[in-house]
Symmetry: C2
Subunit: 140 residues, 2 copies
C-alpha cells in the first residue's frame, strides 16, 4: 500500500481543504505502519517525529481522511477502530472472533447483496470496508 501525496494534496486543496504537515505525517504513518492500524499506533508513530502533535488532531485527521475516502475504518468488537489506506482494491473482511483469523474478501462478494438492496429498496449501500465477525473453520 502506498499513496501519492501530490495527487491527494491537489485534490484536497481543490476542495478547499488544507494540506498541513500534521495531516501528511498522519497519512504517512497509516501507510508505513501498513494493514489495519489503530489511532493509538498512529499517534505514537507521529509523536516520535513531532512530539507536540496532539491526539485530537490524529483522530480528527483520521476521520477527515475517512470522509474523503482516503482511508477506511472498521470498528472492532473490542471497541477500537482500525484504519487502513483506502487504496486500489476495495475490500471487506471476515474476522474470527476466537482466533482473530482475518479473510480479506473483495468488494465483488458483496455486490449481489448491494444490488438486491438497490432493486428491492432503492437503497444504495455506501460502506466500503465492512467487517463481518464470526468463527473460522478451525474455531467451530
Amino acid at each position: 500500500m502506498s499513496h501519492n501525496m501530490e495527487e491527494i494534496a491537489a485534490r484536497l486543496r481543490g476542495a478547499g481543504y488544507r494540506v498541513t504537515p500534521q495531516r501528511q505525517l498522519i497519512l504517512d504513518a497509516v501507510c508505513e505502519l501498513g494493514g489495519h492500524v489503530t489511532a493509538e499506533a498512529v499517534y505514537e508513530s507521529v509523536q516520535e517525529i513531532v512530539p507536540s502533535l496532539n491526539q485530537g488532531t490524529v483522530y480528527r485527521a483520521l476521520n477527515f481522511f475517512c470522509d474523503e475516502r482516503i482511508v477506511t475504518a472498521t470498528r472492532q468488537p473490542d471497541g477500537r477502530t482500525v484504519y487502513e489506506l483506502a487504496g486500489q482494491n476495495p475490500h471487506h473482511h471476515f474476522v474470527c472472533q476466537v482466533c482473530g483469523a482475518d479473510y480479506e474478501v473483495s468488494q465483488q462478494m458483496l455486490r449481489p447483496l448491494f444490488e438486491r438492496a438497490r432493486q428491492e429498496y432503492g437503497f444504495a449501500v455506501e460502506m466500503d470496508h465492512i467487517s463481518f465477525f464470526g468463527r473460522c473453520r478451525e474455531c467451530r
Copy 2:
C-alpha cells in the same frame, strides 16, 4: 415485541447466571421502550423505578443480554449503540445516513452472502443484527 421472563429466567439460571431485579428491570425497559433503544434511554427509564441502579449495571446487563442473544445491538455512525429485543424474527437494517430512513430486512436477504462465506472460506458469520449505511432513493 414481548419477552417471556419466566422462560428467559429459567434458561439463565440453568446456565449458572442469576436473575436479578436490575436485569429484569433493564430487560423490561428494552421491551417497553420498543424498537431501537439507547443505553441512555434504558438508564433513564429504570432510574425512575430504582434510582440507585447504576449506569455501569445497565451497560453490563445490556452486554450480557447480547452475549445470551436475548437482545441485539447495532453501533450507529454517531458512535452510539442501540439495543433491541432479539425476538422472533431476526433481521438487519438498511439505514439512510441522510434522512435516517430505516428499512428492516429479513435474515433471508443475507443468507446467500453468509452461505458463500461458509463455502469459500469455511467461515460462519455470527452477526444477527447488522446495519448497512448508505442512501435511500430520495436522498440520492
